[in-house]
């Protein structure tokens, strides 16, 4: 029982940040038909920016020169995600990705892989290669006792962020003008263009929204991990697994996929630690073989 609770709690926190990254990845794919490998880098940039800002403002966990109250560090995490998402997202899309959006699926995939390689080094150039550990927001929340076992509270906050992000995304897509335009573009690029929708602009917005989600995932997981070069490499491949399992282009699918992968991995870590990665990719393969479009990919029609 205690073990099961642990699996559930660990799985939920793992699923939360996986969802944040995967939702952006799947949204961008749904709109632009581009599988964005550089999405992992946006996660990494978000994590680095957040950790760096927190360490700057509260060196050693104590209020620094600006003497800001430590509670503000949560706002700083959000700020870091917005800075990265709103600056780097449009930059990547406008300068590089927009140029290849009509060149099939392979070329954009490889282009984003190239961008991914570049961003890996850019992160090292900016923040060095030593790990950044900014656990102030994590430590401040302390722990809570559930059924006699202590659990850190911070992962629950992460889950909260994921839920809020999911709700916001749902509202944006289903209740805003931008959402309606996005749905039109997904349904038919050419007709949308003919109707006067500025498709490249929709692409830029969609990509930026996805980038913000990835950076949010990075920024809010930064306090739980030690931010080192290479965080992006692991995250993107897991996000691939999640989006494939849920169905590329489906945000609901990303949520289910993230939960499945999160809980499965947590269970494997507790019961068969040798297979913690294997189960994820085995599930990914099995889903691809049985339902290539994923659990929620549907046949074609609308994906979001």
């Amino acid at each position: 029982m205690e073990q099961l609770l642990r699996v559930a709690v660990d799985g939920l926190s793992f699923a939360s940040y996986l969802f944040l990254v995967s939702a952006g990845l799947t949204f961008i794919y749904g709109v632009m038909r581009i599988l964005n490998v550089a999405h992992g880098s946006l996660y990494g940039l978000g994590a680095y920016m957040a950790a760096w800002l927190v360490l700057r403002l509260w060196p050693g966990g104590a209020p620094g020169a600006l003497a800001l109250p430590p509670v503000w560090s949560y706002g700083v995490l959000l700020l870091a995600a917005l800075i990265i998402g709103l600056v780097v997202g449009p930059l990547l899309e406008r300068v590089f990705i927009q140029r290849v959006v009509d060149r099939g699926e392979v070329i954009p995939l490889v282009l984003t892989f190239a961008l991914f390689l570049m961003l890996e080094d850019i992160m090292k150039l900016i923040w060095g290669v030593n790990p950044l550990g900014a656990d102030l927001p994590y430590a401040m929340l302390g722990a809570v006792s559930l059924a006699g076992v202590n659990y850190p509270v911070y992962p629950f906050l992460l889950t909260g962020v994921a839920v809020v992000a999911a709700a916001a995304l749902w509202l944006i897509i289903n209740r805003s003008r931008f959402g309606k335009l996005v749905i039109a573009v997904i349904a038919d690029r050419e007709v949308s263009r003919a109707l006067g929708i500025d498709v490249p602009r929709i692409y830029t917005f969609a990509f930026t929204l996805g980038a913000v989600l990835a950076a949010l995932g990075g920024a809010f997981s930064a306090p739980m991990i030690s931010v080192v070069p290479g965080v992006s490499v692991e995250v993107i491949i897991l996000a691939f697994a999640v989006t494939t399992i849920g169905g590329l282009g489906s945000i609901g699918g990303a949520a289910i996929g993230a939960l499945l992968v999160g809980v499965l991995r947590a269970a494997a870590v507790h019961y068969v630690p040798e297979l913690d990665l294997f189960v994820i990719y085995a599930l990914m393969t099995a889903i691809l073989l049985v339902k290539p479009r994923g659990l929620f990919g549907g046949v074609e029609v609308r994906r979001i």
């Binding site: 099939g104 995939l109 190239a114 150039l125 590329l248 990665l277 990719y281």
Partner: protein, 344 residues
């Protein structure tokens, strides 16, 4: 993508910029140049320093894997998972040596590695030949990540992140001393590479080669013609996997060590990277790409260990945006200009 969707997508496909030199038959000039390069590579080898021989040996081995990736690219299929075969070939050599197979010679071990990878490709191909586009790439990634997770975690079998040694006792009955080992390996890999490239050259001009090109243009028309797309893709996939295994086994022998990273997704990404970097316009392009890539990486890494990926990434971005045919198309353009730009 189903066939029906493909036919709907046809107008879009036709408007796409094809690499200019997707021709299957090489210009005779290219063949003559390749033979000349081969002769030079064979003749100058004894004069080259050990590190250069090693670099070229590894580049040729990886070039073979890239050649396999290119064969699939010609049918518009991107395998983001050739690390699967690369690692299968490499680990076969290491396992065979570790578990006391009586043969300690490199040649039969490389053959064994190639066979194992071929069998893996024949099995995976049964499933993957149905997939196109992004799903083909995803499924190939999934398979290589499965192998990676096993190689990484089954410590008692694979040595985990430490990997395993792969040092055969000799090559083709020769027992080269330490100072001639590199040279012997170099010749061994060079001869194999030349033979396999010739095979790929013939393959490109065979019905299967033409079929792959037709599939690139329009899959549904190939079906209407009466040819089996799935069979053509399956066969090409198996051949491609065999090349991956051969490259992996050769690289393992040259490096003397194998590690799970060979199967990680970034390793597969690198092969696709080199494939586009070299270009898909010729069977010689992957080798050219692999050699230039290894040089650039070697020097960039020495000059600045924190920015070599930045450099490589920038080069690839430039190639994709401004030279879609890769290095090979640039060479061709140069050659054309040298001849006065009349013949193509």
């Amino acid at each position: 993508m189903t066939l029906e969707e493909r036919s709907l997508a046809a107008p879009e496909l036709a408007g796409r910029r094809l690499p200019r030199a997707l021709g299957l038959l090489e210009a005779s000039g290219a063949v003559r140049a390749a033979v000349a390069v081969l002769v030079v590579l064979a003749l100058v080898a004894p004069l080259l320093p050990g590190w250069l021989l090693f670099l070229l040996t590894v580049a040729f081995a990886k070039g073979l894997v890239v050649l396999g990736v290119v064969l699939l690219l010609r049918g518009d299929l991107v395998s983001f998972g050739h690390g699967l075969f690369y690692a299968a070939g490499a680990y076969t050599v290491a396992f065979a040596l570790r578990w006391g197979v009586p043969v300690r010679d490199a040649a039969p071990l490389v053959l064994l590695g190639t066979l194992v990878a071929t069998v893996v490709a024949a099995l995976v191909g049964l499933f993957i030949a149905r997939y196109r586009g992004i799903f083909f790439g995803m499924l190939s990634t999934a398979f290589t990540m499965i192998l990676y997770s096993l190689l990484l975690k089954l410590y008692w079998l694979t040595g985990g992140t430490d990997g395993l040694a792969a040092r055969p006792a000799g090559i083709l009955g020769l027992q080269p001393a330490a100072d001639t080992l590199r040279l012997t390996q170099y010749y061994f890999v060079l001869v194999l590479t030349a033979a396999v490239t010739y095979g790929a050259y013939r393959l490109a001009a065979s019905p299967l080669g033409y079929l792959m090109r037709a599939i690139y243009d329009n899959e549904i028309r190939v079906e209407y013609m009466g040819a089996s797309v799935r069979q053509a893709i399956y066969r090409t996939y198996v051949i491609s996997g065999a090349l991956g295994g051969l490259g992996g086994a050769l690289a393992a022998v040259a490096v003397g060590h194998v590690a799970p990273d060979l199967a990680y997704w970034t390793s597969s990404g690198e092969f696709v990277f080199v494939a586009l970097f070299g270009g898909a316009g010729s069977v010689f392009a992957p080798l050219l790409g692999a050699v230039v890539f290894e040089f650039v990486r070697n020097y960039a890494f020495k000059l600045s260990p924190y920015t070599w990926q930045l450099l490589l990434g920038s080069v690839l971005v430039l190639v994709i945006l401004f030279a879609p045919g890769g290095l090979w198309s640039l060479l061709e353009r140069l050659a054309q200009r040298a001849r006065g730009g009349k013949r193509s």
